[in-house]
Symmetry: D3
Subunit: 126 residues, 6 copies
């Protein structure tokens, strides 16, 4: 692993998913999942999220659509929080999931709206 790219990825991952999330991920690291944590931090967050060419809010919106279709609720929750942190508004999240309804089907969208509402409730506020 390239430690430079790992450090860059760790910084971005923390900015997007939050310090609490990343601390928990690192604290839960053991011999079994260490190779995954390293790969994800370096490859996903360093090598791709670290690129120029798209704004972070755009990357977040892409992720919401993709993870909704890929049907991974844990990850979707984390990335809804990340999207808000990256400046995506609740109105834009609504639009993304409406587009999911059309292109990937109504059940995908119904689930994603429910997960978004749960996430908003956890975050409190408006």
């Amino acid at each position: 692993m390239s430690s430079e790219l790992f450090e860059k990825g760790l910084k971005i991952r923390t900015e997007v998913l939050g310090e609490a999330y990343v601390k928990k991920a690192l604290a839960g690291m053991d011999d079994f999942n260490k190779p995954l944590q390293e790969l994800v931090t370096e490859y996903c967050w360093g090598a791709v999220w670290g690129r120029e060419g798209l704004q972070r809010s755009e990357r977040s919106m892409l992720n919401l659509a993709m993870i909704s279709i890929l049907n991974r609720p844990h990850e979707l929750k984390a990335h809804i929080r990340g999207a808000l942190a990256n400046g995506v508004t609740r109105e834009q999240i609504c639009e993304v999931f409406l587009q999911v309804a059309i292109y990937a089907g109504v059940p995908e969208a119904v689930d994603s709206f429910r997960i978004a509402r749960e996430t908003f409730a956890e975050l409190g506020g408006a």
Copy 2:
């Protein structure tokens, strides 16, 4: 939105998924998910379920197969109840999910049978 198609969809949605389900969906409506509720009611329930050309029991069986493959347990439960309301028998539900086993794989079917049994248990009776 066309209010005529919305009304038609609301009527069919209520007949299939039940008054309790639809009341809960509408009661849980806020600014965030209102566009989805409208789109689903009008487009899914009005424009497609409202068509002639297939019996409701046939539409229900198609939905069981599709939602099983799409892997959405919340929606699957609602549509198992809907299928029973549309006159699909438990024996026919068994047949649909056996066909899912062959065409979409054993894990899909094992999950769908388990969810069906949970739904039957919630409904009680034979």
Copy 3:
């Protein structure tokens, strides 16, 4: 393998997919794909299609929806022909794929309508 179930499956497979299709499949059988041909004929066509509990036209409609979502054009073509052989009308095929549009997304339906039209053109007539 149970030869009785195999024979039953072969008979149903021929009735649904047509003699030409099945002859070609068997003629193309070699050491490599023989285990698949046997498994499919016996389990898919004998053990599941051979069951009571659903009409063949219903099984065909389920297959059109499932194979459309599973995104397998070769198989979809064969099962569109099979559906027609089982008495499913073109109007019903239209209805099945409209329901796919809603539950699994517009691109799935657009592809399936195109493949259906190609199949109809190959078959000629009305």
Copy 4:
């Protein structure tokens, strides 16, 4: 169907996918696929693409990611052209598909890059 929403959808669909594409789609319309063409034009293009809340270039980028994962090459080609028409650059398309590589896997991205290059070659120019 609401003719107002249909007309709005037809206008947007033409602006995004091009006059040639839409003319061909309408010319190929017959009794079988007419309900799909109407549904897609009205709901997909009128009711969702016609909404405020996201820029068209953002909707296009979401579509590229979604249709890449949904694995529909015909539709992907049409929406790569649409993305360019909506002001998405080739550099941004590259970024979208790199993000697909990470979140949905390398084979998805390899296919999508190949399809994009074919589309660029058809369009000529730089």
Copy 5:
């Protein structure tokens, strides 16, 4: 059903998934899911797991990759236990899911690692 193949399948299924698992599956059998239990035991465990040509540990590794992509956590847990019973090590399970990360995407792998860790915790020991 061929009772010979069923018996063979039952034996292998018990060896791989454990006596407790299979006893529970059979005890939970009723008129509704009996056809599935028979089909799975005979067809999945007898006709395919019962074949020569791959080692059981290889079949287990294939299943971990496939069920991870198919996104079925209940089944994945059962097959992680099965893999350990078939001599697959935790290190090899890590490798399988890293390969899932690359070919099917990071969210698939993150979920699978989490489920594996939960399973290991339930099993206790190192």
Copy 6:
């Protein structure tokens, strides 16, 4: 990018997919797809295929199952060739795809067997 990991990945990729394949991939590289080629070579082939812990033939078998389910014929062909280069036999490929039939469905397996036979025909010999 780490040039050491890239070089390692390039070496493994060439050993598995063949010199002709890799030369063609690199010759077809332009500004648009260069970031993908680098990412795939370094992360997929260097960071994951370059790991100890599984034999190459095991990694190949996992890929055949995964890419079959992911439904990517171009990539499947390349990896069938790669599997043969890694010492996987045609009999083992048959077993992998039979297991796909059970866990991911018959249409997936039918397509994969057909693609394997086409690949064998292109390679000639027994």
